[in-house]
């Protein structure tokens, strides 16, 4: 039971004056993922087989590595923005929400770093 007025309750701590960047970047990354995702799937399907040496040779060839790195970064970025929305939607407790958002951000950065490192290691490593 609170004696705070209804208007005071919905006013809360006021407008955060942000959210537009998050919303806009989520749209931009989703648009970017359409060609990147299609390219990734089509390129893999076009390979004669999907064993390690064939895929590694594909990663080393031509422009594959930079586009693959872009795909990893944009994918992780988009996923982080999306998971943030899900957490904000469904986790009501402020402490849990803060923890979940922080952990999700860390996890996405770590995943992106591992992905980029993996691509670089294959692309710049020796052919053997």
């Amino acid at each position: 039971m609170s004696w705070r007025s209804a208007l005071g309750r919905v006013e809360g701590h006021g407008s955060a004056k942000e959210g537009v960047s998050h919303w806009w970047v989520q749209r931009l990354t989703s648009v970017a993922l359409i060609p990147l995702g299609c390219w990734f799937v089509i390129a893999l399907l076009a390979l004669p087989q999907l064993d390690y040496s064939t895929v590694a040779a594909w990663v080393r060839g031509g422009w594959t590595a930079p586009v693959l790195i872009l795909f990893v970064i944009v994918g992780a970025w988009h996923s982080q923005l999306g998971v943030r929305v899900v957490v904000e939607d469904y986790v009501g407790d402020v402490g849990m929400k803060t923890l979940a958002l922080a952990l999700s951000s860390f996890a996405h950065i770590v995943l992106a770093a591992i992905g980029v490192f993996a691509v670089l290691r294959i692309a710049l490593g020796s052919a053997a």
């Binding site: 309750r9 407008s15 955060a16 919303w23």
Partner: protein
């Protein structure tokens, strides 16, 4: 975390009282209506009413007939009975609509009537709309200007400018849209909901208003505006055929374009 089950006192007993009109006829219909009395120790229940509805073209007529002949304690809001006051908004066969503009003939089988979803219930079909009205007040739904009004006439608009606010201004604040929105269910205290955002849009695009920027500032918030995930239940259920989802999308576009 999200609560998946209603608290014990809010769980609805599906087998409430049964009220039958004396004579049964071909036009007898069954209405199953949510009941809750805050002064009784009993939790909410669903009562069954069977009555001749031949004199009831609309659902509201049937409710009035029930109140007049079968159970005078049945409580609901109603006023204009022609879809302009928004009082009799309720959930009828799973959709939020106005009882006065919902035809009995359009509803097949048993008719299930509940209060608007996910709002505190005052009694029976009467939801507590305090928060909903506060959110409307928050968007300051009135003309704000710095330029003094012309001394000899009203502030003018072109026909085209008026047409932009024609539809949004037709909102009757029945709350069908906001209470149909899952985002509003989960975060109703912080998400303003489609009705308040439609009202905000109506003033943002009003060419006589001079505080569009301040209005956008007030809305720029991950919860107030961006909880809208374009589910579009709002537009689906609006009894006035308005499009709050589009208004919200327009606000989001303005948020982006004002930065470039």
């Amino acid at each position: 975390m999200a609560q998946l089950r209603l608290p014990k006192d809010s769980r609805v007993n599906p087998r409430g009282r049964v009220h039958r009109a004396a004579a049964s006829s071909a036009s007898t219909r069954t209405l199953r209506i949510y009941r809750f009395d805050p002064e009784s120790a009993e939790g909410p229940r669903v009562d069954t009413f069977e009555l001749d509805v031949s004199s009831c073209p609309m659902v509201l007529d049937a409710l009035i007939l029930i109140k007049g002949t079968l159970d005078s304690t049945l409580t609901f809001r109603r006023s204009c009975r022609e879809g302009i006051c928004g009082s009799c908004a309720m959930n009828i066969n799973g959709l939020n609509r106005l009882a006065c503009t919902t035809s009995m003939a359009d509803l097949g089988g048993e008719i299930r009537i509940y209060p608007l979803p996910h709002m505190p219930v005052v009694k029976d079909l009467v939801p507590d709309l305090t928060q909903f009205y506060a959110q409307y007040a928050l968007v300051e739904p009135w003309l704000k200007t710095r330029t003094p009004a012309p001394p000899d006439r009203e502030r003018l608009q072109s026909k085209h400018e008026q047409e932009r606010i024609d539809r949004p201004a037709a909102c009757i604040l029945c709350a069908c849209c906001s209470t149909a929105c899952p985002s509003y269910w989960w975060n109703g205290e912080r998400f303003l909901g489609p009705a308040a955002l439609l009202a905000a849009y109506r003033w943002i695009v009003d060419t006589r208003d001079e505080e569009s920027g301040e209005r956008l500032d007030q809305l720029e918030d991950p919860f107030r505006l961006y909880r809208c995930h374009t589910i579009m239940n709002c537009t689906d259920v609006c009894p006035k055929d308005l499009n709050p989802a589009k208004a919200i999308a327009e606000i989001k576009k303005m948020m982006v374009t004002r930065r470039y």
